[in-house]
Amino acid sequence: MEVDSVFYTDHSGRITSNPLLDQLPSYQSLLYRRKSSASGSKRRTSSSRSTSGSSGSGKWGVHTFHKNKDKHHNPVEERPIREWAKPMAEKRRDKAQRLEEASKLSSWKQWRQSTQRTLRRLRDEAQEWLSSLKLWRADIHQIEGMFGTGILSYFSFLRFLVMLNLIIFLLMFSFVMLPIIIAPSASGNITFEIDYESNCSKYPSSARRGLVIFHEHITDLLSGGGFLEQTYLFYGFYQVNQIHFPNIKYNLALAYLMTTIAYLFLSLIWIVKRSALGFKRNLVQDEDRFQSFCNKIFAGWDFCITNENAASLKRSSLLYELRTDLEEERIKQKIADRTRKEKCRIYLIRFILNIFVIGVLAGCFYSIYVATIFSQEAQLLNIKVNFIVDLMYEYLPSIVITLANFITPLLFSVIINFEDYSPAFEIRFTLMRCVFMRLTSIGVLLFSLWSQITHCKDETCICGYNHELYSCWETRVGQEMYKLTVFDFIIIVAVTIFVEFPRKLIVRHCDCGLAKWWGQQEFSIPQNVLEIVYGQTICWIGTFYCPMLPAICTIKYFFIFYIKKVSLLKNCRPATRPFRASSSNFFFLAVLLIGLALACLPVSVSVAQINCSQACGPFVGYNTSWEVLPTAVSELPTGVRSVIEALSSEAFAVSFFVVTCLAMFYVIALAGAHKKVINQLREQLVLEGRDKRFLIQKLSQAQRLSPTSQSQHRSSSNGNRNSSRMSPSDRMSPSYHTSFSNNFNEGLFLAHSPPDTSTHV
């Protein structure tokens, strides 16, 4: 920072004021803004609206700075009074004045203003009512007070997922299940075209006959087989092609397909909308770091914390964060200073470790594949050893996936230490690897299922799929998804009860080395988020095969909220390296989007490529599930049909693509031009600041030398710029009371001229 020779400082180092300086419009604007609450009559131009980022000196030119300001009212911009930063008394005065002025307006304008006011009030009340409906307000408020906004974002994310799943379920229910349920009462005729002669349409019932032992019911409940198979839960039960109501024909197959596409689309839009609020700004700016220093300092403290413990924890975590970031700066410097030999060594190590990581991932995927095939064969061959082992065979893929997802993060966090990245990058990279592992394991499971389903004894499958083993393969896939969901829930509950509670007891009561090494449970936000995103991905994939899965997931997340909340309050302490709310939100929604993309892939492959089973489900009679759509389109009237065909033709697709590319290039060019202008304006501001200081320096030098000023010893510091005892009357009066006139070595002698003649435009 350059030493400002303009400002004379007294011996305590504080900057004394210069009456000339104080009269400058831009300086006045600062003081005036601070005093606008006291004087109460100035309409402040909002800096957030002004596009020139300067201190507003240009806009002040027309205003005068007398004590009793004339009120400048622009009737066009009628901002609500509460958006002014003034005390209540000022706002009341403003309001009275506005009403007075409004009565002078024409009746049309009066009416318009009053309607605007009522509309605004209605909108406020509607928002108030909507927010009162929000789930778990009191719980979230409590968590916020105790742990701050970082952990809070996890719980509001959980709430978001509950709502999302509920909406998806309502969608599925109203378009797929409801017509079937009301068909009898609404005198609808259900048609189901199935070719009973063909080999493909044999669907042996899997319902248990005879005496059913109790634990077999439990097995059925946990594995989705037995009595659950022929319920609304699974795809196979929907033996409906169309429903003929008295007036309309309801194509249920089409509805099933469209609802699937609709819920994926709806999820995408909702997530993007939710994330756009948060990180729209950050993508536009050229911030290379998410967590800049200003963000940490100015927005660092969570004002919502009410707990003394939480406050001291927050302090220490802020301190830790600041120290780490400062150290990271130094590390960056160190990295830039690496020699070539060191760089080669580092790259070699990283290469080897990455190969190792890929090897570990491949090993995990292969074990999932093997486990799935083994489990499928065990189920098909109906090997029954005993209750527990049967259940284990059923759940083998889930168990392997959970084990892999438990071990690999530990492995990754050990490996990353050797790779010598900067701390922030380390965390992000490990997280990326864990995300990849979690979400791809589902993909591997599905891939191995499909390889089973489409692999027949002979070369090609007659029905397109292995109809002997999988007469209704969608139900089998649905059962696997169901099992994954149930197992996930069981694991979360079990880990909380059997690992976290004992850990807390051990750490609190036992003073042994184990307790000290293990430490108290930390609420690790990334791992918890990955857990629930994993569950949500399964839900998205599984809804096509198991239409009631969203309802199950809603209930599951509902319970998880309470479990996690209790665990947090009783067992955990907040993490030492905190997750900021903003980057948390970005991370959650980014991972969720990745999960959604990964979920769309299997669904679209199975809808479009794999032949749907001919023995069950609403798509009997079609080759693939996708075929419903072209068939339905061909039944539409000619006009609509030609429009849709035009939309799906290549010509349209290519021209649409070209237009989108052009729009994108235009926007990018615009952004580049804006950036240039911003840089130019910044430089201009710096130059103007320097100009101003230079001119003032020259002026005060000139005045110092001039004879008339020597004789007027004014107690000239108006309590300098740092005084805190300025009242409105002091601001403009010629004699400023002094705090520092005795401390001057070099007196600041200026002819004081009345404010309205000197410096403003």
């Binding site: 509460r82 914390i305 700066e329 709310a581 710029r721």
Partner: protein, 189 residues
């Protein structure tokens, strides 16, 4: 305008709703919590000022490192002692509420962080700010070297005209790019 009557009048309530960002429930709750701070005889007087010590017993403010600054900023008393009337209290809650605009929040944040009330955030203000955030005891402070590095970084990011201080416009500019500000600058009773 009597605001400490045991019941808020309907007119007054709707006026407060119009002039602040608070909902009806929030105003009533604020009135209840404020009345709890008053002694019996104070309850009948209109426009009583509650001293800063009593305001700071509220749990929402008790653990806040900026509690004293908050009281000073929102206080309109002549003695500059940080005492708040009920209307000051409502202004406080309105600025910290969920629905307050970014502009209001950044304006008041600036005034809260301006420890010496001179209209800009200079190095001294920033140092005090960082010390408030990290704690007042010796082992929780940053070393002078770290502090210098930190403040240099902050000024580099926020001081556009390179005069060594952050004025209100620069502060609002940097806040508009700060994604955490809106969610952290919030007090709800």
């Amino acid at each position: 305008m009597g605001t400490t009557a045991s019941q808020l009048g309907k007119e007054l309530l709707s006026e407060y709703q119009e002039l602040t960002f608070l909902t009806k429930q929030e105003i009533l709750l604020a009135h209840k919590r404020f009345s709890e701070l008053l002694t019996k005889d104070e309850k009948d007087l209109p426009n009583t000022k509650v001293s800063m010590e009593r305001i700071l017993t509220l749990p929402e403010l008790k653990s806040n490192p900026f509690r004293k600054r908050i009281c000073h900023v929102f206080s309109t008393s002549e003695q500059k002692d940080g005492s708040l009337t009920f209307e000051n209290f409502l202004d406080l809650l309105s600025a910290f509420s969920d629905s307050a605009t970014l502009e209001i929040k950044s304006h008041y944040a600036f005034r809260i962080f301006d420890f010496d009330d001179d209209g800009t955030l200079d190095r001294g203000d920033l140092e005090k700010l960082v010390n408030c955030l990290t704690g007042e005891t010796d082992d929780t402070r940053l070393t002078p070297e770290e502090m210098r590095q930190l403040i240099d970084n902050i000024l580099e990011e926020s001081d556009i005209d390179r005069d060594g201080t952050v004025n209100l416009s620069e502060f609002q500019h940097v806040i508009s790019r700060s994604p955490d500000f809106v969610s952290s600058f919030k007090i709800v009773l």
